[in-house]
Amino acid sequence: MILTRQALTLLLATSTLTLAAGSEEKPLPKDLPPYGVDRPIPPLNIAQRTLPNGLTVWIVHRPGFPKIASYLAIRGGNAYDPADRQGLTGLMAGLLNEGTTTRTSKQIAEELQAIGGELNAFASPDAVFIHGSCLSNGLPALVNLLADVARHPSFPDKEVELAKANTLQGLLAQEAQPAFKANRAFNAAIFGSHPYRFASLSPEVVKGATPASLKAIHAARFQPNQAVLVISGDLQEAATLKLVTAAFGDWKATGEALPTIRETPATSAHQFLLIPRPGSVQSTLRVGRPAVAATHPDYIPMQLANVILGGSFGSRIVKNIREDKGYTYSPGARATGMQVGGNYMVRADVRTEVTAASLMEIFYEMDRMGTTTVGEVELQSAKRYMGGTYLFQNQMLGALTGTLATYWVNGQKPEALSEFIPKVNAVKAEEVRRIGRTYFAAKDQTVVVVGDEAKAKAELEQFGPVQILKN
């Protein structure tokens, strides 16, 4: 057998950051020692192979810690469901480990427990992910269980009924969460009729689900040539590939090709939407718009701009509305890139009486990203932070494995792992400003608020007309 193996390198920074303060910052303590020299990061070995049936297999050998992580990703997530049944893929994913043609859900749970393992599945808009872990000597059992739940789920009547009943109750429980209501309304407002609007199953879709409808989705989507299997940890490449070939080699592609998802809308309306929540003591704020796909050239510069604006503890929004004003505990911001589009979102939960004041500051900070150029120290610091957190995240087996599977779903190669930080480091201050101008201008943002109807409405009306939504 022939494997293509790559040694991928994660680099931190092209130049060492000095601790010198920029013109925009106060001087640092004179006794503070400088950063040391960055040490090289050992290359990561990734063996790649495509089985004759089309299944892509990536194996990462990382010894020294006695655990294994695995991700099987299959293209076609919730965004590929018919509009009147959106979310059925997620429901199907949740039932994969609830019974196969040869195992009951209890048997699956106990076999996993016996290897110190876990195996769970969920659907993103773009794909279904089945992720697992176990002690390193449980790898053969994990691969077999993974193959069984992926290839031979039986969707037993009783399990489907229970999952439907629990999902319906779970939806009812989630209606009490302000973040759940805010995210659902935000997605709908920025994506319109695009399938990325999906945030949660509706009770009607749950009630209409049957074992047959779940089986049909599974049969249509789960194809070896539409899937990647990533396995990482303290393993032997050759033995692992042999296990994978034995468990997945005779998996046949039988389904139809996936439909193409159209591009997301480029913009959304600048509007103020309020979802009343009786008894709310805070306003749950969402400010944002559609943005770019994970492979768009603006995606990495936007991630960097986000670290500066709201995506880190030292970011401008956190410093402003938390550390200076004390309006909120956990403000944040995130750029999400998916296969055909993405979004940008600033979030904060603030006490009701500072709803307008908080939005003013968020708008100010968003506009400032496009109207002024970020200083060199703040820019370098953000780059270091991105490099460090990327390294931090990918030192965890499960996260590394998931990152690689997501890269594959987005059409990227494992090299994306080693290209990420150099691309971040290459971003210039002017480019950050262009990102600010293009995506962060306050006048282009959709605002969603969940909170006390009367008080929050009065706060929001200071900006313009407010539309009240039911949910």
């Binding site: 810690f65 655990k67 629990n166 610091s381 080693s418």
Partner: protein
Amino acid sequence: MRLGLLTIFTLGAALVAGPAAPAKRPSWRLPIEVKTLPNGLTIVVSEDHSLPTVGVSVVYRVGMRLEPKGRTGFAHLFEHMMFQGTPVAPKGVFDRVIQGGGGLNNGSTRYDFTNYIESAPVSALEPILWLEADRLKALDFSPQNLKNQQEVVKEEIRVNVKNQPYGTFWLDLPGAAYSRWENNHDGYGSFEDLDHADLKDVQAFHSTYYTPSNAVLGIAGDVKPTEVFALVEKYFASIPGKPKPALPDLKEPLNTTEIRQVKTDALARVPAVAVGWKMPARGSRDHAPAAVLAELLIGGDASRIYLGLVKGKELLLNASGGLNFPLGGAWDYDGQTLFSLFSLYKPNADADKVLAAIDEVIAAIASQGVTSAELERTKTKMLADFYAGLEIPLSRADALAKAQALWGSAAQLNEIPGLIEGVTADDLKRVAATYLTHPNRTVIDYHTATAKP
């Protein structure tokens, strides 16, 4: 930037795959080196050179239980003040230096300790140690910083408690189950007490509890112990030693009468039940059996409560719980803790039905024990989770510092797999019969505002 080398090679004879079920659990230990400075600061180091990163955790042996009366929530408010700058490094410097070094930082307050953590490329270790030493020396005790963090903490309580359904179950259970103020008060704090906190309180707390002898510094990752000891000495040795503050014994006997409360939650849409039992002291003979029993009862999809009540009787929507849940794990508490569970229950259920079903599960273990297959599987899963909790340098530094602070021995962390191994079916019977009793049980039934009476 350097892209990966592309090589093609042929594999030799394929290796034989292992058996379907592992015959033996893999054993794995952390290297541990400990040193105590003359001023009382203990340093624990664990080296691992697989990636050039480092994790740092400073654990102070003070938590919610030791905060002053009339100052509920103060230990946590104080934790926030630790990020508000010092006379030498004003507000903002701490985050700027750590973030600029590619690092992350955080802090958390628990019943018996408060920890401050950083993870970064190892090139940032020296400035991080300097910053930790600096805030152990003195804080910027300014009224503006205190006022700002009083507001931030109140927002934290709003977002996590007041604006959430069942936001208070983890405060309600100890509040009802324990009788001593130190154990049963609201550690997040009343807004009134938080507002009354003043700078004198902040200064006194720092002076009493934030001392070298009351701290453990854990460092793990791409470091050599001798180099770390030298660096820590450089920045911490000049901090004057003070006597270690007294640690009162706050343990309570098991309860002798069941405590049961009903709360109506205006925000909740689905009813829920929280149940807690007082459990054995950390390090006692019953501790490890209690940990294994908790795992066996509610540790996941193969646990008895999941299989019996979520599946089986279909009374619960979900089942979450554990020893020292939800503020910690089975090994990082001191004194005593609760075995707690929290579940949403379904329209066909009520608290009595749920409790009766849980009683059945417990009675079966207390009377018949468990099979060796179930016990072995449970131990394997616990071991896997224990290792998972030590995967990255940050978790190692934190677990080691906590073990040193709470158990008095960082090396104890490597003994935990052995403690799990040693638990027998008879231990489980005994612990189930001793602790998981009606008189020792506290139940809080959360009704929705519109629920049946």
